[in-house]
């Protein structure tokens, strides 16, 4: 209990707050890593996921790719990249991008796959082009699952961004490592509390966004972990619905 109070005291001490080494700045770095990495991962993973989800092709590649990426230990990747790229923000950023890609990719294609095939078939039958089907049907209806994927990406990165300090990449991990090295445990704990709070706040924000993006008219389903396994059987050869693209 005392330790936690010490940690809070450390957070509240103005001396630890401002300046380039203060926790305001470090928190900013933590957020910059998180949103930077998630943004880059989204730019890569969303179009890819949409392509897979719309065409149904390359699904196996996408699944094994994201499975493979998931299996990579972040610390190992970080140190390896750090050895290659040197200290600074680049190695951590790339590591976090790799971390964020699998959930976003899965969210993007699972969102598309969750759309009722009959709805898509009907959209095509009344004369929507493939692009219109994507933009006007699949994207809006798949949005809740995509946001779910981004949410897990953000949460994974915001926690893992602490590791950036391993290669002198800054962020809140800097205090944790410094505190451990100098046996200043209130510093370590204070920074840990900040990371935890940050994760909780982001979790809350995304839970809210996820509720808001459920298209009106569609029953909000409880969205848990984004699936990596298809929710519905996919015909091996074109079902009637696939015809006439």
């Amino acid at each position: 209990m005392n330790l936690i109070l010490d940690g809070i005291a450390w957070i509240l001490d103005p001396a630890n707050q401002t300046g380039p080494g203060g926790w305001f700045a470090r928190l900013g770095e933590q957020l910059a890593y998180t949103f930077g990495a998630v943004a880059i991962a989204a730019i890569i993973a969303i179009p890819l996921g949409y392509l897979v989800g719309h065409t149904g092709r390359g699904r196996d590649v996408a699944v094994s790719l994201s499975g493979g990426f998931r299996a990579l230990p972040s610390l190992g990747v970080l140190i390896l990249l750090g050895l290659g790229l040197g200290i600074g923000f680049r190695a951590p950023l790339i590591t976090f991008v790799i971390l964020a890609i699998p959930p976003i990719l899965a969210g993007a294609y699972a969102g598309f796959e969750a759309v009722d095939r009959k709805t898509i078939d009907a959209a095509r039958a009344v004369g929507m082009t493939e692009g219109q089907i994507v933009r006007q049907v699949e994207v809006p209806l798949g949005l809740p699952l995509l946001i779910g994927g981004i949410r897990s990406g953000v949460l994974q990165v915001v926690a893992t961004a602490t590791l950036a300090a391993y290669v002198s990449g800054g962020a809140l991990g800097a205090f944790i490592f410094e505190g451990v090295a100098t046996r200043n445990y209130s510093e370590t704990l204070g920074a840990s509390i900040l990371v935890t709070l940050l994760a909780l706040i982001l979790e809350g924000v995304f839970a809210l966004i996820q509720k808001l993006v459920v298209p009106r008219g569609v029953v909000a389903r409880e969205i848990k972990e984004v699936r990596t396994v298809s929710s519905r059987p996919r015909a091996a050869v074109g079902s009637p619905i696939q015809e006439g693209k």
Partner: protein
């Protein structure tokens, strides 16, 4: 007029759904394709708007080979109504109805105003315009589906078992509505069902199909009833079991028409 000329469809898995199919569908009339499950009705219907392309043969609309037409443009000028209504769940009723005109570049406001009128046409209250499909009953959703099919004022309306999933009373209502609309608007309707009673009720021309899109008989309901082409047709329309056979019984000097169960159905006018 829609013409099938020796149309064959073989799916990639080898299934021959339709083989050497020939048929002329007259304009401004209702043609019903009827047959049991898997006989190729949907396949035939979807070849008209190129949702499915034939393996060989030609389909002509007013003399124009559909193979030469761009599928998307073709579909926008053919209404399509399907069993589950196929409405977009995230769009309001009014926007679902306005879908095709908006795709065709009609300004949204104008398309919506027209969509409101179409709700009247299909017998829906305008207060439903701002609801989402999920908030409607199955019968209401089907009506919205029909309104959407009519929105771009197509000459041709394709209907694939549109009333298969609604209860008998609502179905009867929707059938009457379809007859009224077809007559009022003069559309060429191609209607798919496996219900022979529905086929006889709606069809000016009824096409009885067997597996592989083989035509067992084409004709008006009266022609088919009067002269079933073969045992299959006779049993399909129920003529073999005495169904649809009416008798006349003299009651108090008048001719009372009695159905196969002996239930009086009406009185013959002298």
């Amino acid at each position: 007029m829609i013409e099938f000329r020796s149309v064959t469809k073989q799916f990639p898995d080898g299934t021959v759904a339709v083989k050497e199919f020939d048929l002329v569908i007259p304009p401004r009339k209702t043609t019903v394709l009827v047959g049991s499950s898997g006989c190729g009705k949907t396949t035939l219907l979807r070849m008209i708007n190129r949702m499915i392309d034939p393996t060989s043969g030609h389909i002509l609309i007013d003399g124009e080979d559909t193979a030469a037409l761009a599928p998307v443009k073709l579909r926008r000028r053919i209404g399509y109504v399907m069993q589950n209504s196929g409405l977009l769940p995230h769009r309001k009723v009014i926007d679902n109805v306005a879908t095709v005109p908006v795709l065709n570049g009609v300004p949204k406001k104008e398309a919506r105003a027209h969509a409101l009128e179409l709700l009247d046409t299909v017998g829906l209250d305008r207060s439903l315009a701002d609801k989402y499909p999920r908030q409607l009953s199955g019968g209401q959703q089907q009506r919205v589906g029909v309104a959407r099919g009519l929105a771009a004022d197509p000459n041709i309306l394709l209907m694939d078992e549109p009333f298969g999933a609604v209860d008998p009373i609502v179905r009867a209502e929707l059938q009457q509505e379809t007859i009224r609309l077809q007559q009022g608007l003069g559309k060429t309707v191609v209607f798919v069902t496996h219900d022979i009673d529905e086929a006889f009720l709606l069809g000016h021309q009824v096409v009885i199909l067997q597996k592989g899109g083989h035509i067992a008989q084409v004709g008006t309901p009266a022609e088919i009833l009067a002269n079933p082409a073969d045992d299959f047709v006779a049993s399909f329309v129920g003529a073999d079991k005495g169904k649809r056979v009416l008798r006349i019984e003299k009651v108090g000097g008048r001719d009372v028409v009695v159905d196969e169960n002996g239930t009086p159905t009406g009185v013959l006018q002298p």
